[in-house]
């Protein structure tokens, strides 16, 4: 299910509209993930506050969305472009890749909330494919 030219154009155009709110989107998505999928909290036992909208959650949400924005720029070769990030996730963070789709789902929910008119079914499918491809590229160095 690789990204077609149309998917790439859709993702880039949509990102152009939402990039300004990347920090909020990331913080909201991460907040939701920690509440909706409590098992994901196991990766953040070093934070003192895991509640929705807390300072460490919002800060990390920005970090994650900056990564997604970076990936948009690497959309023509995600595997090569995300090599360093993949090494980080594989060797240091060692996040079970099953969790990538949980965060992806929460990102899509946040996009539906914040951009109800722009997040059409066509944009949804391209974004879902993009986030899936991103997750695969991120898991590249795991084994």
């Amino acid at each position: 299910m690789s990204l077609t030219a149309k998917d790439k154009a859709t993702v880039q155009a949509f990102w152009g509209k939402i990039a300004g709110k990347a920090e909020e989107i990331g913080g909201d998505a991460l907040s939701r993930m920690l509440v909706v999928y409590p098992q994901t909290k196991t990766y953040f036992s070093h934070w003192d506050d895991l509640s929705p909208g807390s300072a460490p959650v919002m800060k990390h949400g920005k970090t994650v969305m900056d990564g997604v924005g970076f990936a948009v720029g690497q959309i023509n070769d995600l595997t090569a472009g995300l090599l360093t990030l993949s090494e980080l996730h594989a060797f240091q963070l060692r996040i079970d890749p099953a969790n990538f789709k949980l965060l992806s789902h929460c990102i899509l929910v946040v996009l539906a909330i914040k951009f109800p008119k722009e997040f059409t079914p066509e944009v949804h499918v391209s974004m879902d494919k993009f986030l899936s491809a991103l997750a695969i590229a991120l898991a590249e160095k795991y084994r």
């Binding site: 907040s31 939701r32 929910v109 539906a112 909330i113 066509e122």
Partner: protein, 147 residues
Amino acid sequence: MVEWTDAERAAIQDIFSNLDYEDIGPKALRRCLIVYPWCQRYFGGFGNLYNADAILSNPMVAAHGIVVLHGLDRAMKNMDNIKNTYAELSVLHSEKLHVDPDNFRLLADCLSVVIAGKMGTAFTPEIQAAWQKFLAVVVNALGRQYH
């Protein structure tokens, strides 16, 4: 048996009491058929599903979306016995309709996205958690009679 907190029960009842079936049902099914096109395999008799525009304007899809959404009513009314409530529908989807149960999860995800779009920030993380837990129980019940 699934344990529900008072807050979870309230969240679910609240969503259903404000649910516009004629709006949300069609939107959820259309989105599912567009985002996960392999789901179209079950709708061979629905006419033109050739592209997103065709799906969005297809009256059979819209009508069926309403039917499917009303299918959740029985779970909402029997939250302490969802498993048995869906036994018959599970057999139907398995034996007669031959639907891969993974599709239930895909439709559930699309429904969550559509409801999020409608409710906006009122769809808080806690309400999302309760809603997705509810759908997960329904999805599980619908898949139980497959063998």
